[in-house]
Amino acid sequence: MPVPEAAPSVRPAPTGRAGGTPPRSVPPAPTVSRRGRGGRRAERLAPFVLLAPALLILALLRFWPLLLGVNFSFTGDGDRDGLMVGLDNYRELLGDPLFRDALGNVGLLVLLLPVAVAIPGLLATLIYLRVPGHRLYRSVYFFPAVLSPVIVGAIFNLLLAFDGPLNALLGGVGIGPVDWLGDPDVAMFVVVGVHVWATFGMALVVFLAGFATLDASLLDAARVDGASLPQTVRHVIVPSLARTIQFVFVTTMIGMLTSMFGLLYVMTSGGPEGSTYLPEYYIWIQQGQMNRPALASAASTVLFLIMLVVGLLQISLLRRAVREA
């Protein structure tokens, strides 16, 4: 989709810069002789020298812990530290009501995902179609995305407190009071809502970047044919932006699964009654508070599998939807 991608990756006639041989169009002799044989060897090693710090860090602090963690999830905690215990941790996880709550909430996130994608998608469409004030909206909508979840959570703690301003406002028109963060049936929706409030600007910018690659003549053709806005969205915009939509679906889901910790930590601490637990919060509690690192590792592995499955599932579903459209 991106413009700069095609040209450089299919670069014509490799000139072998890394090998130290200059392009044929210039006389090779001076450069080679100046560098000499030792220089050639240094040239050959250069890419690896340049890559060394990055590869070392990624190997030691990303891939090694990943393997270690999977292995760790099959060992015991406490007295059985280091002993292989087979699937005991996974069995314990499935029996733990808190982890089941966390999994149930993942299901809820999957159900809410289309809404979380549709909101920025619709807004991006309107901004692209130059609704009055579109430039201003673009920068205003993006602004909560730069705030830390901790700050967002603190602000909404203030607004949503039981004796706080929102309930005072609703009380003025005869509604409520609602215990936004204290009612187990409501709290998770509130936290997800706050997360969407804080992040829809990110997805909006991604959508707008996708719109920038859209062929304007298609839209003109639709207008000439007298298509209504919903028809234009369904038959022109959605098919042309299939890749962007897919990307937003996957990244929004990943965001919901991996970047709500700050909100949960500040707003609900997983409560009330465990109703706002997510796997990432469960991992944190087991590792940090309960001193059950092996159990936490098992939960990590489950989270990784969930993300893998959700990612692959969404990509295949969307592929099919696009083909049928």
């Binding site: 890419p47 690896f48 340049l50 990943l66 901790v150 603190a154 707008l208 936490a296």
Partner: protein
Amino acid sequence: MSRVRWGRWLLALPMAVLALATVYPLVFTANVAMKTRRDYVLDRFSLVDSLRWDNVAAAWNSVGMARYLTNSVVVVTVSVLLLLLFGSMAGFALSQLRFRGSSVLFLCCLAALFVPFQVIMVPLARIMSDAGLVDTYPGLVLAYVAQFLPFTIFLMTSYYRTIPPEIIDAARIDGNDVYGVYRRIMLPLGAPALLSVGILNALFCWNDVLISLLLMPSAEHRTLMVGVTSLRGQYSADIPTFAAGVLIAAVPVLVIYLFLQRQIADGVAAGATKG
């Protein structure tokens, strides 16, 4: 024609309401931070008629905000500089140099992008503690670099791919070796991308709370965002001072957003479209 125009204004209305909903929570917080406790209890919503900085001063002085802020600034600055250095070196090698295994190594960096921190945090905490790096600046810096390096490499590689190879060839004919090309050509030419990626990384590190909670447990080494989480317990009865603390923590990011909005949005968009 006029029908279309009316329709547009009709659509602009809910968008304006949403824009208000986006900004209002922060305006509300800033407004509350300027009130006395008594004013807040009497009327939460009325706008203050003068700016009172007492609460801000109280929040600043009482909870060690200054120390948290220093910790954050030090850790974020060092992390971002290392990320830009390692990321641009790797990006240069992966985009412009030809060597055996380059595509495999690029795939490895991409794969690292899909390993979330929550999945590796337990073993990582153990590795860090075995290395004696828990509760130290280098430990947190290393964790941040490892966390955001895949994204940095990915963006720098895509950016450097757009640099025409002729420029590099010319520099080599002038007698530069690979490192000279990196220093004299790739770093200056990469400036726009480095700025964009640098700001994004700074925001990511600055806003993080999970990694910092995990690796910097002592109060003395807290970063600002972890410090904010401790505000709530301290000022649960004094909402205006709590709001003032939140405001202090939000201001640096807001200033950055006001001045570098375009670079931030460009970075996010580039991450999406270059995939």
